[in-house]
């Protein structure tokens, strides 16, 4: 299923792909509300879906008190996100998370800790989370992280450009960031909680993809409202429209707010229904989360033992 696909190259800024495109909030909310009620997975299917969710997690620490030790612990968990005996019982081997996501200065620690695992290090950059430091500094920060070994860069956009409809400015900024990323994949964080309207979310998604983003991502985790299903629905629809127009495949990353196994299932259902199975794999879907894994582990243990589990039976991330 994870056949390779060409890296999305973006397109020239093409306003008429999104200008005048309005997203109806109530309609989006209705669709989002019924997605989890129209679909569900049970038993083996549930276990498989939970494991798939684990493989898509960008295990994240983005706190002011992050240290090498904290990052090392996180990376160890990334290598073995689910207890070995449970994995064995489920008949699955070699499961890791999708990536580890840290601040730029933590990248060297993470790279070291993940050496040989194949797990990429993702770094936030560009003055995360507000993204309001001067552009040269933001670009320099990207280059710093890439040089330190980050293979994925989670950049933040300048919300002002969206709020004022300055699409060319947004496009140019993102294009410059993508260039700074080089071979590292660029995940464009739209900070949808700041953009407020779904129509803004759609337009910002389109511009980010036109500028060559490898992923579009909902949130920094620091806005008042983080990933929601209606916002995610809007973004994946933009992604689908973009794919239909260009043939390019762009990934999607909801971040912030996904805390339970049920949340993970809902988002996977969203992706399956709106984009298809191919987009449920970790090269096209990531979940930015820190506490989600713990809940999934407990659900998996319940699947194996039939008993409800407790947090202290699973290693801390």
């Amino acid at each position: 299923m994870t056949d390779h696909f060409p890296r999305p190259e973006g397109t020239p800024l093409t306003l008429d792909w999104f200008e005048g495109h309005e997203v109806n909030l109530s309609a989006a909310e209705r669709r989002a509300a019924t997605l989890p009620t129209r679909r569900t997975v049970k038993k083996e299917w549930q276990a498989a879906w939970l494991l798939r969710a684990v493989s898509c997690i960008d295990l994240t620490t983005l706190a002011g008190d992050d240290t090498e030790g904290r990052v090392n612990r996180l990376c160890a968990k990334a290598r073995a996100p689910v207890r070995a005996d449970l994995l064995e019982a489920l008949g699955v081997e070699g499961l890791t998370v999708g990536a580890v996501c840290v601040y730029p200065t933590m990248v060297p620690h993470a790279v070291r800790a993940l050496e040989g695992s194949g797990i990429p290090v993702a770094s936030v950059a560009t003055g995360f989370p507000a993204g309001l430091s001067p552009l040269p500094l933001r670009l320099a920060e990207i280059r710093y992280a890439v040089e330190a070994g980050a293979r994925e860069i989670d950049i933040v956009i300048t919300r002002e450009h969206v709020l004022k409809g300055e699409w060319a400015a947004l496009y140019d900024e993102l294009k410059a960031m993508r260039e700074a990323c080089g071979d590292a994949h660029m995940k464009a964080i739209l900070a949808t909680g700041d953009l407020k309207t779904l129509t803004n979310v759609y337009k910002a998604s389109m511009v980010a993809m036109q500028a060559g983003a490898d992923f579009i991502k909902t949130s920094t985790g620091k806005e008042d409202v983080n990933a929601t299903l209606p916002v995610s629905l809007t973004m994946v629809r933009a992604l689908r429209d973009y794919g239909e127009r260009t043939g390019q495949m762009v990934g999607f990353k909801p971040a912030g707010g996904l805390k339970t196994a049920k949340d993970a299932m809902n988002w996977l259902i969203l992706i399956k229904e709106e984009l298809g199975t191919r987009f449920m794999m970790p090269d096209l879907f990531r979940i930015g989360a820190s506490s989600l894994l713990g809940d999934i582990e407990r659900q998996l243990e319940h699947h194996v033992t039939g008993r409800y589990s407790a947090a202290n039976r699973h290693a801390l991330a």
Binding site: M1, E22, N24, W45, T197
Partner: protein, 793 residues
């Protein structure tokens, strides 16, 4: 079974069945058959049983008796006996019962959901998330009405014993829509569920036992169409409420014509689903899913005619085709299914035959790429492209998961296509521009309009149709009024036959002739018109002498008048202030000619106190002028961030047949409320005193009433009434004539199912404002349109 490792690659859903063991146990206990529920007890099932089939599995899940006249009789007797006590309970006491029903539905929600799915074939997602929650909501809402009925509907009384016949597409929900308002208003009920889906009604009856509802208040008789006819036709039923096909609606209308029974009909539809070029297309695609692929398309208000603006049509159809690929059809008890089984094999064949017709007529059927279960009545969802208005499938209700599509260029064309149907139940409008959306909502002929949504329901929001989709509303205040009566509805003495029988041959008796011959004509399209037949009839005055000649209108005059009324569309669109001014001006002009009208009334012999009658008529004009800009719709609290508006819309062209008594006052008491709300009327004036009409049109002419808004005909009352009743372009008809005439009018009105209001040949005291004017007249002169407008950025 695939391994977890494999599933991690395929990411399939896998089976997710809802358990039905409790329901199976319940069914097993009742395998011998369910009885009727009469007077608080279940009857023995007997031998003549109808097998109830789960359409998804083709298993027989139960048996119910086919109710015969004796069963219906017993049920009606029980309901009649229970009525006085039930009606006499305080609102609070009735509210407690309704509240208990609502609560118990919630306590048994999963049971009812599973049972409904097994009986009907609809998916567990829908019964669990839509049907059963709406049932509970309906009883809650009406517990509130029970509590408030005395405060909110002063002077009203319960109608009495209600016969209710419900369909198979939403079995328990339709039961709730019928039973809740009936009980809240203090009526008792005899209800017949559909023979295809009787199970939840029986379970509901058990719930009524559980909550201790007094015996006889609700009675449930099982059976087929014949049983339904026995209920509708039962002499001791006061009101009939029917939801089902337009054809059966017509049969019932004819069956009970002239019986004096109150009737509400919720019938078929072919509702437009209009997508404008500025719509959120992805949102609209999901709208289609919720419209025609909801409940297997077995929804009377389903958006079954998709109309798309040309500029976005190709993209929209592509998106729709794409969307069909993820639809899941199969075991309705599986929680991952979008579409379950059609209610029966027979219904499936009917759908399939229509789909074949569609293809044969040249349309392309686009079908979802689904594999249907080998057993069961499953139908693949889809939509037609290349359908034209003239195609059978564009006109006939498919009642399956397939919509037709058409494109349009302009908003005006969208309106024309949307309204190009006999039906008028619902419409769905998709646009991000509120100006365009509301314009469409205003111009579409439908009882419910959903903007940027579809199939939204709430107990507080009236639901019901225009045109051949029926009349009457369910839900909210309008719905309650269907189950309440006014004292004036139970009025007095029989009306004597007209004293004057039109004679067209030269009259040689005594005559009281004017100095210069007066020519009384008809008044059509704002012009005085000679009768088409070239005939006049002699009018006899007080002293038995001829006092003049009146035009004798015939069928063609009715046709011409309806034609003229149909053209006067501007009247409904002018402001209430404008219409009020015209009515005030009419009163002013009448006042100026007070003496003349009094003299004419006196000469006619129709009015013992002629001056009083003129005075009352002037007052009545003032009263309706006052009401014009105050008889308003409402904004109803349904869901958060939704404006749900109820608008009182005129019917369009109304027929009015006036009685002989108080010929000026009665005629205007009928015309004024109709035109106050923007209708155009074709009025048949008093048969015996037609010269009053001839004077009246002179006043109309000078009162700035636009031509065609009021058309006056004179002649044989019942001949003209019949033509009006049969006329398919007359939307509503008020008839004040004889008892037989009422029956005739009601029967003849079944053609286009026009809303009729007749007094069954009983006299009304027009001088008494309680009988001769009031909000009831205004209510009868309009139809409620409910517009749902969700908002938010």
């Amino acid at each position: 079974m695939p391994s977890i490792k494999d599933i991690m690659q395929t990411m399939e859903y896998g089976p997710a069945p809802e358990s039905n063991s409790e329901v199976r146990a319940w069914l097993d206990e009742r395998a011998a058959g369910l009885g009727h529920f009469i007077n608080g007890r279940f009857t023995a099932p007997g031998d003549d049983l109808i097998e109830v089939v789960n359409p998804a599995t083709e298993e027989v899940i139960g048996r119910v008796p086919k109710g015969v006249a004796a069963d219906v009789d017993a049920a009606v007797r029980a309901a009649r006996a229970a009525l006085p006590k039930w009606a006499a309970l305080s609102g609070f006491e009735r509210a407690r019962y309704l509240y208990a029903i609502a609560r118990h539905i919630q306590k048994r929600e999963r049971f009812f959901a599973v049972l409904e799915t097994m009986d009907n074939g609809k998916t567990i997602r829908e019964t669990r998330d839509i049907d059963i929650p709406l049932v509970a909501r309906h009883f809650y809402h009406h517990a509130g009405w029970a509590e408030l009925v005395d405060d909110e509907f002063p002077d009203h009384t319960p109608v009495g014993v209600c016969g209710q016949i419900i369909p198979w597409n939403f079995p328990l929900l339709m039961l709730a829509w019928k039973v809740a308002p009936a009980l809240a208003a203090g009526n008792t009920v005899v209800l017949k569920p559909a023979d295809l889906t009787p199970m939840t009604a029986s379970a509901f009856a058990e719930l009524l036992v559980e909550i201790g509802l007094p015996a006889g208040v609700v009675n449930i008789v099982h059976g087929d169409g014949e049983t339904g006819a026995a209920i509708a036709g039962h002499a001791d039923i006061d009101k009939v409420a029917f939801t089902g096909s337009t054809d059966v609606g017509r049969v019932i209308r004819r069956q009970i014509a002239g019986s004096g029974k109150k009737l509400s009909l919720e019938l078929g539809g072919k509702s437009p689903f209009i997508v404008l070029e500025d719509a959120d297309l992805d949102g609209a695609v999901e709208g289609v899913v919720d419209a025609i692929w909801f409940n297997q398309g077995e929804v009377c208000c389903a958006g079954s005619r998709i109309l798309v603006q040309e500029g976005v049509a190709r993209r929209f159809f592509e998106k729709l085709t794409q969307r069909m690929k993820t639809l899941r059809v199969g075991d309705p008890l599986d929680k991952t299914m979008d579409i379950g089984a059609v209610v029966s094999k027979k219904q499936l064949s009917r759908i399939e035959a229509l789909l074949e017709t569609g293809k044969a007529e040249g349309a392309t059927l686009n079908v979802a790429p689904v594999e249907l279960p080998k057993r069961g009545a499953f139908c693949a969802p889809g939509f037609f492209t290349g359908t034209a208005s003239s195609h059978t499938v564009s006109q006939v209700e498919i009642f399956g998961p397939v919509a037709t599509t058409q494109t349009f260029r302009t908003l005006g064309e969208a309106v024309a296509l949307a309204n190009d149907t006999r039906y008028g139940l619902a419409a769905s409008v998709w646009s991000e521009n509120v100006n365009r959306a509301i314009e469409l909502a205003a111009r579409v002929k439908a009882g419910v309009v959903w903007i940027n949504g579809t199939n939204m329901f709430d107990a507080a929001a009236p639901f019901g149709g225009y045109r051949e989709s029926g009349f009457g509303r369910e839900g909210g205040r309008s719905g309650m009024l269907e189950y309440l009566a006014l004292p004036a509805d139970k009025k007095g003495k029989p009306r004597p036959a007209p004293t004057l029988v039109p004679q067209v041959q030269p009259f040689t008796g005594k005559a009281d002739l004017p100095e210069i011959d007066i020519t009384a004509k008809l008044y059509i399209g704002g012009k005085q018109a000679r009768a088409d037949g070239g005939q006049s009839y002699t009018v006899i005055g007080k002293s038995g002498q001829a006092i003049g000649q009146a035009g004798l209108a015939n069928r063609k005059d009715v046709r011409n008048a309806v034609e003229a009324a149909g053209k006067a569309t501007g009247w409904g669109n002018v402001t209430g202030h404008n219409r009020a001014q015209v009515l005030y001006f009419l009163a002013e002009n009448l006042s100026q000619r007070r003496a003349e009208f009094a003299a004419a009334l006196a000469a006619s012999g129709a009015s013992p106190k002629a001056e009083d009658e003129v005075e009352l008529t002037i007052r009545r004009a003032f009263w309706y002028a006052a009401q014009v800009d105050k008889f308003d719709g409402a904004v109803t609290a349904t869901k958060s961030r939704h404006v749900t508006m109820t608008v009182n819309e005129p019917f369009g062209t109304m027929g009015i047949v006036a009685p002989d008594e108080a010929p000026l006052l009665s005629l205007l008491s009928l015309i004024l409320p109709a035109i106050a709300l923007g209708n155009r009327v074709v009025a048949v004036a008093s048969q015996s005193h037609p010269l009053i009409a001839a004077r009246l049109y002179q006043v109309l002419e000078t009162s700035d009433i636009p031509g065609g808004v009021v058309n006056l005909l004179t002649g044989d009352r019942d001949v003209l009434a019949r033509t009006l009743a049969e006329h398919d372009d007359v939307a509503a008809l008020w008839y004040c004539g004889s008892e037989e005439g009422s029956a005739m009018v009601e029967k003849a009105s079944a053609g286009n199912l026009k809303s009729t209001w007749s007094d069954n040949g009983r006299l009304r005291d027009w001088r008494d404002p309680k009988q001769g004017q009031g909000r009831e007249f205004l209510r009868r002169a309009c139809q409620v349109k409910t517009i749902w407008l969700p908002y938010g950025e």
